[in-house]
Structures are given as structure tokens and as C-alpha cells.
Symmetry: C2
Subunit: 231 residues, 2 copies
């Protein structure tokens, strides 16, 4: 029985922009595991109540149900030890956990300011009120005010990426010679934007631009083929 993944979708079933779901899809591809994704909307809380979760990703693998992208990655690594590792070992797993916390705290806020109105435009009609209310509460201001200066959001996002540039100038991937979960965390950030927003985030000369191209090409261009805007 193939693994099932509840995956956030927008107005169209195949528009999938959750950064956390992207991490998991890339980890499943990395491990070469068969899986199917089930489109899910923010307000479909009942559909994932069995997982004791109100958010996706939720992964169902036979008798195992796991929610939270970090826990899912750790589960897959433990459950499928003979498949390619998404963490190089316990050293990398702890450092990648730091990377995840850094990315969410440092990269998400400026990027959200750049794309929040585009995201709102792409969420399903049934989710629009939920998205508006929950995000207004989270950011303490109306969406239109939070996203009033997307150009500044992009500039702040680019500045926040700064410590990654020397690493990607010298390494093909954040995980060194091959891609790993840290790369998928970062790709999730870019897919979040690209699947919902036409905004260009990187200049071609940026080491991150070449890195993103490499990750988008993995497994026959799996991530590049996703419905979204060109990069």
C-alpha cells in the first residue's frame, strides 16, 4: 500500500504551495518511496483529525500516521534505513534541526510579506475567510497592510539568505556533495513562493540561483514540474 500524504492545495487541486509539505515530498522522492498526495485545504480539519493534527503534512504509511514535517523526516529515516539517507547521520540531523528553526524564523517572515497577497489569491474559495482571519491575527494587521511593500519583503529575504551564499559558492548542496533534508527545507521556502507568486526572488548570478536550479532538476525535474510560476 503506497504511502499517503495530505498536501495543502489551493484553488486548483494541483497547486501545492506548503513549504512543509514540500520538504516531505522531496524526502519521499529522495528515498525512492512510492506515495500519493491527497489535496487538502486549510479548513478541512475533520479530514486529518484522525492524525491528531490540524495542519499538514500528515503522512499515512500502513499503520503509521505521522504529522509535522520534521517528525515525518525522522520517521522515514528510521523506518527505511536501507534507502538513501536524508540526514548524513546524527551530526547532520541535529544541525539540520537548527537549520529548520533558523529558516522558519529568519526566511519565512520577509518572504511572507512579499507573497502573502499572492497566496491569498491562490487559496481555495472555501479557505479565504480562514486564511484572512488567521493571518490577520498572527501578523497583527490586515493582509493588505502586511503585504503592502512586497519589494521590501524580497530585499529583506535576499539579505536574510546571506549566510548561505559562501556555503553554496563552495558546495553543490547544503548537505555537501549530494542533497539532503536541509536542501529540501530551503527548497520548500522557494516552492512556497514559486507555486503561488510570480515574484522573482533571486538574481541569476546568485549562488542560490544555481543551487535552486540543481534541486529543481532532481528526479527528472520533480519540483520544477509542479504548477507554479517560472523562476
Amino acid at each position: 500500500m503506497a504511502i499517503k500524504l495530505y498536501d495543502l492545495a489551493g484553488a486548483e487541486d494541483d497547486r501545492r504551495f506548503s513549504p512543509y509539505c514540500w520538504r516531505v515530498k522531496m524526502a519521499l522522492m529522495h528515498k525512492g518511496l512510492a506515495f500519493e498526495t491527497l489535496p487538502w485545504r486549510f479548513t478541512e480539519k475533520d479530514a486529518i483529525a484522525f492524525a491528531n493534527s490540524t495542519t499538514v503534512p500528515v503522512l499515512v504509511d500502513g499503520n503509521h500516521t505521522v504529522s509535522d514535517s520534521w517528525k515525518i523526516a525522522a520517521y522515514l529515516e528510521q523506518a527505511y534505513p536501507s534507502r538513501p539517507a536524508v540526514f548524513g547521520g546524527s551530526d547532520s540531523q541535529a544541525l539540520t534541526y537548527f537549520f529548520s528553526h533558523w529558516a522558519v524564523r529568519t526566511l519565512h517572515p520577509p518572504l511572507m510579506r512579499a507573497i502573502v497577497l499572492d497566496l491569498y489569491g491562490h487559496v481555495h474559495e472555501k479557505d479565504k475567510a480562514y486564511f484572512r482571519e488567521s493571518r490577520t491575527k498572527r501578523y497583527g494587521m490586515p493582509l493588505e497592510q502586511y503585504g503592502a511593500d512586497p519589494g521590501k519583503g524580497v530585499a529583506d529575504f535576499r539579505a536574510a539568505l546571506e549566510p548561505l551564499r559562501p556555503v553554496l559558492a563552495e558546495n553543490d548542496f547544503l548537505s555537501g556533495k549530494g542533497p539532503g533534508f536541509a536542501d529540501y527545507i530551503l527548497l520548500g521556502v522557494f516552492q512556497w513562493a514559486r507555486c503561488a507568486s510570480p515574484r522573482q526572488l533571486l538574481e541569476p548570478g546568485d549562488p542560490l540561483y544555481a543551487w535552486r536550479g540543481r534541486v529543481l532538476e532532481l528526479w527528472g525535474g520533480y519540483a520544477r514540474k509542479a504548477k507554479g510560476y517560472p523562476v
Copy 2:
């Protein structure tokens, strides 16, 4: 012939506060390599000109001379592959390189505001003019102005540490089960402060407090025994 390390010293020969030199000393201890440190002052550029460097650490290992803490760690890992690894592998090495850039960009500036005047108090008499001039130029203001609100520097430093806390609440070390170079990078930041400043940076309930205690205790308390202020 034992490895020689040029190590920044203050007014006293045994007051060693360079965060970059601390990384290297910890890596040498980790690998169990015999080494001696040579006290060096900021203005003794001639003494390390043979290494084509104007700053320490500079490591001399037989015919090999290496400067720059990152290059030294990479050199030691490559030159002594049978000794305990400071990187868990190429995955960890790339992620640790990111960690290094993050630490220098994010942790050093607020901490410098907290301790710059204490550092100035401890640099060797012959270095004082150099330290004052070079740092005034770097920060674009007099030392007394840059360090005018050390309490705010400590508060900003504690806030900047935030993405580390969930990692150290769940792992003994940044490198997972055992310490690695990421831990030594972070310890270097704390030793920079502790060897020159009485300021308390962490509260006992902070996961970082317990982590620092663990790293200070390694190899019979090597780092804790260094001349400095109690933590």
C-alpha cells in the same frame, strides 16, 4: 614535533580570548593531537608574516602552515583521518560552514557591543591603539559609543541564540550525540566573552547554559580552566 598554534593573548600571556583560536584549540583537543600555543598580539604582524596572514589562528604542523580557523579544521580533518572526526562527514561539514557564517553574522555583533570595553581593558598595552583604531573604523563610531549599552547587547545576543534552543533541548550537542566543530564554533563565541568579561550571558534554565557546561567540561575541563571569569 608538536603542532604549534599562534593564539591571541591579552595583557597576560595566558589570557586567550579569540573566538577563532578557541575553535581550533577545541578541534585539536577533540582529535587528541599534541600542540603548544604561542601567545601572539594583534600588532605582531611580523611574527606571522611567514603564513601570509595578518590574523590568528595560524597553525604550523611540520611543513604545513595553515591560517584561518575554517581551513585549519578542514586541514586537521584531512591530515588526521584516523583521529576522531570533528565533522561527521561531508553533510555535516557543509552545514557547519553555514553555522559558522550564521554565528559570525548573527551572534558576534550584539555580543561585541556587550563586551567591547571589557576586551579593550584586557588587550595588551602594545595593542590598545591598534584595537581602538581598527574597531572604531569597523564599527563607524568610538568604542565607548559602540559599547555604551552592554545590557542591550546581552539581551540582543540572547534573542539571536533563539533558533539554537529547540536543538539543544533535544540534543546534548549541536553535532548530535557527541560534540563536533559546530559546538566548538559556538563555544568560541562564549569563550571570547568569558575570558575577557565578567558579564553573565545565560540564565541557568536556558538549554544553552547546560550545553555550555557540557562543552566546558570536555577533556578534563580544558576550556573551563582557561583564564577568565566564572560562568
